[in-house]
Amino acid sequence: MIKAILIFNNHGKPRLSKFYQPYSEDTQQQIIRETFHLVSKRDENVCNFLEGLLIGESDNKLIYRHYATLYFVFCVDSSESELGILDLIQVFVETLDKCFENVCELDLIFHVDKVHNILAEMVMGGMVLETNMNEIVTQIDAQNKLEKSEAGLAEALACAVSAVKNMNLPEIPRNINIGDISIKVLNLPSFK
């Protein structure tokens, strides 16, 4: 079982939090803070597993990956394969990359709902639902299409307005690109 999935940036700002066990908002924030604390002080070249602590039982592990400005952390119990989860994180990030076309932190900041939707196609209630990226992307595309068809005219207008709003603002920097997103772990072929 996956107990929680957290994404936060290098400063510990949460970008996505998904808990598969109920916690109060305060506890959630505390878990995010502590996890960030644990993960962020680790060097780049150390292993991606952290044992114990945090959520509930003692057989829990933190499995994380660090991409440019973002940490992707999965808290799992002993029924999950460590390397399997690492692959899953990779699949998740690659899927985000596909859905957002060259994903960067800003995408996650402004479209956290979409990230949730993508995640929901991969992990459901703490259990891995789908590991095939193409399947995930297909479902997401189909849902987006459905959404568009529902929106119709009003939505188009809203889009225009939103564009106008954006014009008044300073340029949204798109350069915080996740540079190494395409780096595959060589010896870990993704699931298929």
Partner: protein, 1211 residues
């Protein structure tokens, strides 16, 4: 209207959407909280509007705020509103918010039930999908109960997208509503073979998750998973399955054997590291679960270790970490194979990654030897110095101590070195493990006599520098070492070089800042020290100096008297008074030393933790005897039943009693002494634990310690363990040289430089290294006459106790898996032959036990071992031989008999060869389904089979423990027995039935009904309907009503019979009960068809809930002793049948197994499907039989006895 809508959406455009909110927050970094509260106000306004789009937008923003830590539970109702929006876009927003913030405590959650049900049945797959996803996060017991059947229907949805989600969510439903598991499971199992890989993966996922918690319930799925494992290409699924097998193998070792080959193949073939790793892990689990007797294991272990080495050598830290993790699992059972990779592990100690270093540390523990201990510890010490985090440093510290002290300091050759290491460790600041170091110091100083002098000198130095150690007293536990230091200096004060100085150090005012328990030790040991100083000075006739010391004591002790700690205060007051008294006498010129030191005369020996238990009961003392006469009223009627199992009791008593045979005792004592003499680490402890005066004649008992003077006892300067390493190297080298070359000493010195180089060469083996000192490690004190036993934790009074664990497990296994029962037959094949060699191989244990004086006891033990062996054999039978005995046993057990022609036998054997044993059960059922049978025929076959078995069972006559049913041929032939009873009969059809219980399902029984067409008509459309009672219900196909009948799955041509099975759910099994039912069918002949009915009453006897379960006599005895069972008895007169046949009958009809049989008395055991234990004692008199029963449930027992009475009455 349209205008309004347009207006609404225009309004909306200027509302803040999520992006605006995020942007706003980012622009208000200074007053974020204020800005957000402002936004929340806006959101509240938006939520009040009717427009669902506005609401959805608001909820979307709330979800974001929730992530930032804001409580949004106040909007729960609005979230539900958005969930019920018709548009997918909004619905999704609603469900997302709900999944983020709903939980069981959310009160409005019950309002969602209907909405979710509607969404689940929505025509749009995405509506359904989003509902399932949301529900998976916030499902409550109520929701689970209400929606379980909806979700179950979805499991068979046409779209795989829905199917996989429905399958996956079932796990959550099971968790919240466990009752749903049983009905849903068949479908879930079906989904394991779904054509869609996603659905399949989801089903595997769910079952793995379930099986992880209760693996035994899922053993029966092993064949299916095995098939999946060999066919699936989805790595994710494979990993899950392989992990699941890892959990299953401990329960069924034979499964493990089957797994090894495919797993090894996978290891060789896969390129995915994740899969490889899990395979290796499971192979390790298999190897651990299998007894190590199998010869071909080493290859698998080698393969694992070799693959792990590749992982560890990989540059990827993750692989390195996991490799070490798995390696440590192997280490536990196969240390040798790991030891050869020491280099690698040591290398990992230098890794920059702390997690990896910790894992490597774990491994080191099993790798040390006499040769490399110093080197390894030295390396660890450098790490201790370097370590910056206290957690890692503490870990290092405990590991160093663990490594050094393991198996009674087995690897330490130089204790001075070890003491110095301990002293060096005290310099660690802020460690939590001061008490660990202290305990080691005490242990070593007490048990290694040769080291005391050195230890005392080190400890006094430590006391002198106490300010260093205790500088941060309150914070950390390192000051605990002062406890040890003070005690050692006090207790062994005769070794002190400068006792006066140490005394001063211990009386410093600073000491009062130490924790109370340490001060108390200080106070106590100050006196010991004082006593020895007095003695020295009086011997030297320095009366004045002696008085000065006393004066010092009188001056300094009051500081302790004022202590807030009671213990310190009390001790200090006592001692102060004592010293004052001494002072008074000293003033008069009375020599006091003798008397003061007499206070502390004698030596304290370490006492083993189990010592108390090992004190043998003196002869003639019966611990169970009443000290006072028991109250008389309990003696009358109640006493009688107590005596039921009286033939058991004397045995127990005997066991508890000490050996009466003096000769035997003497012999054993002699043997023990011999053994101790040969044990280098055993010091002959003095014959009595009583105190001895140092000058008493008992001195000879104190081992004389020979100190090899090649090592100077005192190393100049502060002790640096490194120096010892160097010295030790030299010493070893010298030793070797002396041994090998016998050269002159002068030459040796000249060539010292060279030697050192040589000495690092790993030429010497462990055995060559003689310890630096002739070290005697004092064993812990044992009481006189303590019974020697191999295992410390074994209670000497009950040698059977330790076998407990071994036997209970297989017993449980055999209960789960019917195939396991064949162990009986297998033993019977060749126990006599096998017993002897194997037992001998088992070395010490049996030998010792054979010394037992009592013949009977000896015999008992033999039996035990045979039984022990049985299990061992049955777990490692040659694969081809397995099916045959299992079949035979099936017959001999007789609870289920499958009729078959002789020619069918081999066919089935072949089948079973291919299939895993666990499939046996199912197969048997299905085969029974197919076969037509006639009762009588079957019985005859049975007898034939039994006859065929006979030759193999010859030896059985020697064994008192037998299954009654198995030996029916031995005496006289029994009338054929069948468990099938008549249910009902008319001119068309005859129904006989049997009820079988299975341990796997604690509330289900299977009723097998044989339907025999007795007419000339063709019978079809048969349907069995039963009127359920509150307690018993027939399991009907899903969806059918409570009163509906269950169709019989076949038709009967004239003269043909067939068997149908029906499952019943029973809640309480303690009472027998009858269910009324009707079989309706259409009888068709040439004249036409008629509708016919046959009423019947199905009798569920209590015996049918019992399962023949073998039980070993010691487990049986313990069960009886436990006192949890209530008892009852019956007596039946006028029985002429032989005891043997009686036993067989009861075994057969009531599903018992014989535990033990002596003459015409037998104890029997059985277990109910709900785990009640039933024990019987059957005694045959002249023409009567009495049955005494004990059972965990009195009602069940009385029902059973009634049934038995009926059976016996027919005899």
């Amino acid at each position: 209207m349209a205008l309004k809508m347009v207006k609404g959406s225009i309004d909306r455009m200027f509302d803040k959407n999520l992006q605006d909110l995020v942007r706003g927050i980012r622009n208000h970094k200074e007053d974020e909280a204020k800005y957000i509260s402002q936004c929340i106000d806006e959101i509240k306004q938006e939520l009040k509007q009717d427009n669902i789009a506005v609401k959805a937008n608001a909820v979307c923003k709330l979800t974001y705020l929730q992530m930032l830590g804001y409580d949004i539970s106040w909007a729960a109702f609005n979230i539900i509103e958005v969930m019920s929006a018709s548009k997918f876009t909004f619905k999704r927003v609603g469900y997302l918010a709900a999944s983020q913030c709903f939980h069981e405590g959310t009160d409005v959650i019950m309002l969602t039930t209907n909405q979710i049900r509607k969404d689940l049945s929505s025509p749009s797959q995405y509506d359904t999908g989003v509902a399932l996803t949301g529900l998976s996060c916030f499902v409550t017991p109520d929701l689970a109960r209400d929606l379980a059947s909806d979700i179950m229907t979805l499991m068979s949805h046409t779209k795989p997208y829905i199917r996989k989600k429905a399958v996956l969510i079932m796990y959550k439903v099971f968790l919240k509503y466990p009752e749903s598991l049983r009905p849903a499971f068949p479908r879930l199992k079906e989904k394991l073979e779904d054509p869609d890989p996603g659905v399949q993966s989801a089903a595997v996922n769910v079952i793995c998750e379930l099986a992880r918690r209760n693996p035994k319930n899922y053993l029966s799925l092993a064949p299916l998973f095995f098939k999946l494992m060999t066919s699936s290409t989805n790595n994710w699924v494979l990993i899950k399955i392989i992990k699941l097998f890892g959990a299953l193998t401990p329960l069924e070792p034979r499964l493990g054997k089957k797994l090894i080959e495919p797993l090894t193949n996978l290891i060789h073939s896969t390129s995915a590291m994740s899969l490889l790793y899990e395979c290796v892990n499971t192979v390790i689990a298999v190897l651990i679960s299998l007894s190590s007797g199998m010869p071909n294991h080493s290859a698998s272990i080698q393969l694992c270790v070799q693959k792990l080495r590749i992982l560890i050598e990989d540059s990827d830290q993750n692989l390195k970490y996991l490799g070490l993790l798995a390696m440590s699992k192997i280490l536990k059972t196969h240390p040798k194979s790991v030891q050869s990779h020491k280099d690698l592990v040591l290398q990992c100690l230098d890794d920059k990654d702390e997690s990896i270093r910790l894992r490597a540390l774990d491994l080191l523990y099993g790798m040390v030897s006499k040769k490399n201990l110093m080197e390894i510890v030295k390396k660890l010490m450098t790490h201790v110095d370097k370590a910056e985090g206290t957690t890692y440093r503490d870990e290092l510290l405990t590991k160093i101590i663990d490594i050094c002290s393991q198996s009674n300091y087995q690897h330490i050759t130089n204790f001075e070195w070890y003491i110095s290491i301990l002293v060096e460790l005290t310099r660690l600041e802020g460690t939590r493990h001061g008490h660990l170091i202290a305990a080691q110091m005490l242990d070593v100083a007490i048990r290694v006599k040769a080291i005391r002098k050195f230890a005392v000198s080190q400890m006094s130095a430590l006391l002198d520098n106490a300010h260093l150690v205790a500088s941060s007293t309150q914070r950390n536990g390192i000051c605990e070492v002062l406890y040890a230091a003070a005690w050692i200096c006090g207790e062994f004060s005769e070794h002190l070089q400068e006792p006066h100085q140490t005394l001063e150090a211990m009386l410093r005012p600073k000491v009062t800042t130490l924790p109370g328990h340490i001060q108390a030790v200080y106070v106590q040991n100050v006196v010991k020290l004082y006593a020895s100083i007095l003695q020295q000075q009086e011997q030297a006739a320095e009366a004045e100096a002696a008085q000065e010391v006393t004066q010092l004591m009188v001056e300094r002790l009051p500081q302790f008297v004022q202590s807030a700690d009671l213990e310190v205060q009390e001790r200090a007051s006592c001692i102060l008074q004592l010293v004052k008294h001494v002072q008074k006498l000293q003033a008069k010129g009375v020599p006091m030393a003798e008397e003061v030191s007499a206070l502390f005369a004698g030596e304290l020996n370490p006492v083993a933790p189990k010592a108390q238990k090992k004190v043998p009961v003196p002869e003639g003392l019966d611990l169970d005897a009443w000290i006072n006469e028991p109250p008389s009223d309990s003696e009358s009627e109640d006493e009688k039943p107590k005596a039921i199992f009286h033939d058991e009791e004397p045995r127990h008593v005997r066991r508890r009693q000490p050996e009466e045979d003096e000769e035997e005792l003497a012999r054993r004592r002699e043997a023990r002494k011999q053994e101790q003499a040969n044990n280098p680490f055993y010091i002959k402890s003095s014959p009595s634990p009583q105190k001895r005066y140092r000058d008493a004649p008992g001195v000879e008992h104190i081992p004389v310690v020979q100190i090899d003077l090649s090592v100077p006892l005192k190393v100049p300067g502060m002790p640096m363990s490194d120096q010892y390493v160097k010295l030790e190297e030299e010493r070893r080298h010298r030793q070797r040289l002396e041994k090998d070359k016998k050269k002159k000493r002068k030459k040796e010195k000249d060539r010292k430089g060279k030697h050192r180089r040589h000495s690092s060469l790993p030429t010497e083996s462990d055995e060559d290294i003689a310890p630096a000192q002739q070290v005697d490690i004092v064993t812990e004190e044992m009481p006189e006459n303590a019974l020697p036993s191999d295992e410390e934790d074994k209670d000497p009074n009950d040698p059977y106790r330790a076998l407990d664990i071994d036997l209970d497990k297989p017993l449980a296994d055999s209960e789960k898996l019917p195939v396991q029962k064949h162990r009986n037959t297998e033993v019977s094949k060749s126990p006599e032959k096998d017993e002897v060699p194997v037992v001998e191989k088992k070395s010490k244990k049996p030998k010792k036990k054979e010394k037992k004086p009592k013949e009977k006891e000896k015999k008992k033990e033999r039996e035990r071992k045979v039984e022990d062996l049985d299990f061992w054999l049955s777990t490692t039978p040659p694969p081809a031989a397995t099916p045959v005995p299992s079949m035979q046993e099936e017959l001999s057990v007789n609870t289920v008999t499958s009729p078959k022609d002789e020619s069918e036998g081999p066919k089935r054997e072949e089948l079973e060869d291919e299939e895993d044993n666990t499939e046996h059960d199912q197969e048997r059922k299905s085969s029974r389904h197919k076969k037509k049978k006639h009762k009588k025929e079957r019985e005859e076959k049975e007898k034939k089979k039994a006859k065929r078995k006979q030759p193999e069972r010859e030896h059985e006559q020697e064994e008192p423990v037998q299954n009654g049913a198995a030996e029916e041929e031995e005496e006289e032939t029994l009338p054929p027995m069948s468990s099938y009873r008549l249910l009902a009969e008319n001119s068309f059809i005859k129904m006989t039935y049997d009820i079988q219980a299975s341990l796997q399902k604690d509330s289900q029984v299977t009723v097998s009904v044989i339907l025999e067409n007795q007419s000339g008509s063709f019978l079809k459309n048969m349907e069995l309907s039963v009127l359920d009672s509150l307690n018993a219900k027939m399991a009907r196909p899903e969806g059918s009503s409570v009163h509906a009948g269950v169709p019989v799955p076949f038709q009967l041509p004239p003269g043909v019979s067939n068997e149908a099975q029906f499952v019943f759910t029973v809640q309480s099994i303690i009472m027998a009960q009858k269910l009324k039912g009707t079989l309706s069918f259409i009888a068709k002949d040439d004249d036409g068809a008629t509708h016919e009915k046959l009423d019947f009453r199905l009798h569920f006897s209590c015996s049918s809930y019992l399962i023949t379960t073998p039980c070993y006599s010691d487990a049986f005895a313990r069960l009886l002793e436990s006192g949890d069972l209530s008892m009852s008895s019956i007596k039946v007169d006028g029985i002429s049948m032989s005891f043997q046949n009686l036993l067989s009958k009861i075994c057969f009809y009531h599903h018992f197994s014989v535990v033990e049989r002596v003459d015409s008395c037998a104890s029997m055991y059985s277990r109910s499907i709900q785990g009640h234990h039933v024990c019987l004692l059957l005694k045959k008199g002249e023409s009567s039989v009495s049955v005494d029963g004990k059972c965990s449930d009195p009602t069940l027992l009385s029902s059973l006895l009634e049934e038995m009475k009926a059976t016996l009455a027919q005899c």
